[in-house]
Symmetry: C2
Subunit: 134 residues, 2 copies
DNA sequence: CCTTGACCTTCCAGCCACGGGAACCCTTAT
DNA sequence: ATAAGGGTTCCCGTGGCTGGAAGGTCAAGG
């Protein structure tokens, strides 16, 4: 398989596949003409990576997961630890975003949104209502 | 005021303040010795930027908001539009993260997390249970 | 044989919003 | 004179790609 076919099947752009080879995640063979020659195994790994990335795992996590994926003697605890840590980070991110959202929603709600200059949003960002820029 | 004092008062690292000057968000004066000389106005703008960034606004949004902040003849509708769009993006991001979270939580929950190799997480990422790498 | 066009190759630059660190200058205190 | 603690510019690195230039390869058509 050439890179185009693998790109289509894995859903990853060819550029990304080359990048993944560059950072050592896959090692496709080479044809005599210099073209990359992907085996099924490479395609599986790329598909794996595409899904892991879609779940938001970092490249570091992906690398670790891929190693575990290929190690049939792995302990599932190791996998679960990585995924659990990622889950935790997602929870933190969601909490942070929701906190932001609450503040922002409050401000947006308080803003008239008309042609007058008075704006609680800018007042809040500026610190106090008095120092309205200079 | 020198950059250190402004950094402390605004809560922004000196590096970030120099960067903001570099991209044209502030224009501090210069002392004869080459040091940046910040006025109150600069400090207000930096504080404004720090809060806007803390609310997750992009630098583009910050630039626009800062312009509005300094334009005493602005229409609050313009501010509200920017903030509303940002709120919308946050909502989208939260929804996406929660969707990810649900998938991931399901997988983590299904994984025994012991010393055996069987792992629903890897099986899901790999596509099917049969092609357990090669 | 030549061309066209789609495919492939490598390499370099850029993205965002900074952070680290080098190499150097200015000020103040001793 | 020196040391500490400011400040300055400049360049590189981050993550995870993406775009583009410049060129090699292959299959089809005239």
């Amino acid at each position: 398989m050439n890179i185009g076919e693998v790109a289509q099947k894995s859903g990853l752009p060819a550029k990304t596949i080359r990048y993944y080879e560059g950072i050592g995640l896959i090692r496709p063979l080479r044809d005599t003409n210099g073209y990359r020659a992907f085996r099924d195994r490479d395609l599986h790994k790329l598909t794996f990576l595409a899904r892991a990335r879609a779940l938001g795992f970092s490249m570091n996590d992906c690398r670790a997961l891929l190693t575990l994926y290929e190690d049939t003697g792995r302990a599932s605890a190791h996998v679960k630890e990585i995924a659990g840590a990622h889950l935790h980070r997602i929870d933190e991110k969601v909490a942070q975003l929701q906190s932001l959202r609450a503040t922002l929603a409050h401000l947006v709600d308080a803003c008239a949104g008309d042609d007058r200059p008075d704006c609680p949003i800018l007042e809040d960002l500026g610190g106090t209502a008095d120092q309205s820029a200079g």
